[in-house]
Amino acid sequence: MRKFLPVAALARDERFTQVSMAERMSDPRSTRPGPGEDQRRRPNRLTPARRDAVDAARSLMHGIFVGEVQALEGAGRTCWDFETGTEVPFALKLDMARQAWDEARHVEISCKLADYMGTEIGEFSENTVLFEAACSHDPVLRLAGVNRALEGLAIDVFTTMKEFGELAGDPYLEFCEDWMLADEVTHVKMGSDWLRRITDGDPARRDQALEFQSVVDKLFSYGGVRSDSDQSPIGLARRFRELAGFTDDEIDHVAELSLSALNETTEKKASLRSQAAAAIVGADRS
């Protein structure tokens, strides 16, 4: 079996459509006003009070489903890609195997939840950035990128969806998200513990892993979709991150990165909108 599978080789049937992060970020449209734009600021957090809340929740549920598929693929690859003993301890692989088991269950739960919410598999495009973070050839970087950053994002997403289910009075959504959230906290804790154990006595490697995690955390903020700001649909689940082994400083760091991603995207979108508006004026004159 091939080691270090590239994202292009992921097994997907004809129902799935993949859209790259670059394509997503090149969309000049934005729900948020840019700096200096005369538009009233409004909260954007995903709650049932939003008129578009139900379809936004359906879209997010599909994102969770494909995220779980990629998390399963990532954890499974970590069991296979590295040599036991020389590259990673057996106990780490055992944890990754347990995680793959959890993720497989999450795929089934997400699939059934999506069906219950009226969403078909492949109805929305798939963003493969999650698996891309799981392609590192260094197991420590992979733990930082997948277990700490990716699974950390999962904690934030599940907390938002659990609260959505609670507010909407949807017992299935609330219950399922709560159970999956408990697993995600464990996955992040495993990543935190293994990162410290493997890099014990090697501060340079630990710093490199944490730097990689920062890059992935910023990437996984999806241009501000997740942050402490109420302009982001998904909030930062500070309490559950604490339970997963994040220190207060680490949580504050993720919050700063997310807010920075939100601000950068707002400015970039405003610039893209200005360019498109200029093109419209040019077309009208010609």
Binding site: D27, R29, V54, G118, Y172
Partner: protein, 183 residues
């Protein structure tokens, strides 16, 4: 009948006004509204999904680009969404003029449960006209606004299968279902 879709040229999205126009002309035929002139103003600067009726003479719809967008392929148009979103708004026009909805509040005055109840009533009729719709999606919408109960599911079935309701019947059913779920 004329269908005008604006703008003629797009810079933020990859829509084609002639495609939207052809779909809406076909829809007007199916709804027995082929005598109506329709203007659709697409706001291509936002990916949000709001669509609203701003005038009835001619029928004028203001649609944010996300409402017509293909979720599999961002910034491209979805035929299914054009038919569903426009169909629901056109049925509201027809209901208000012909179907016992003269006393219904203006769209902006409708509560979320009332809006969803009317949308369910409209989408069920669109399905019987041959438009591809997502029944389970609308059941989930309805449950979110009327409660996750057997009573809510029964009310949904009644709205979905109805062909001639009045505003008084629809609003009473919605109100009773919300009250029953809250009890």
């Amino acid at each position: 009948m004329t269908v005008t879709v604006l703008p003629a040229e797009y810079h933020f999205v990859k829509f084609d006004s002639s495609v939207v126009s052809a779909l809406v002309e076909d829809l007007l035929d199916r709804l027995a509204m082929s005598g109506r002139d329709v203007v659709i103003e697409i706001d291509e600067t936002t990916p949000l999904t709001r669509a609203e009726l701003t005038s009835t003479a001619p029928v004028t719809l203001k649609v944010e680009s996300g409402a017509y967008e293909e979720p599999k392929a961002p910034r491209t148009v979805s035929e299914a969404n054009v038919l569903n979103v426009t169909g629901r708004l056109l049925l509201r026009v027809r209901d208000r003029e012909q179907g016992g909805f003269a006393d219904a509040p203006a769209d902006a005055e409708l509560s979320l449960p009332q809006t969803v109840a009317w949308d369910v009533y409209s989408t069920g009729r669109l399905q019987r006209l041959g438009v591809t719709v997502q029944r389970q999606r609308w059941l989930y919408h309805f449950r979110n606004r009327h409660g996750f109960t057997d009573d809510a599911d029964a009310a949904f079935d009644r709205l979905w299968s109805a062909d001639r309701l009045t505003w008084a019947e629809l609003s009473a059913l919605s109100e009773a279902t919300v009250a029953s779920s809250a009890a």
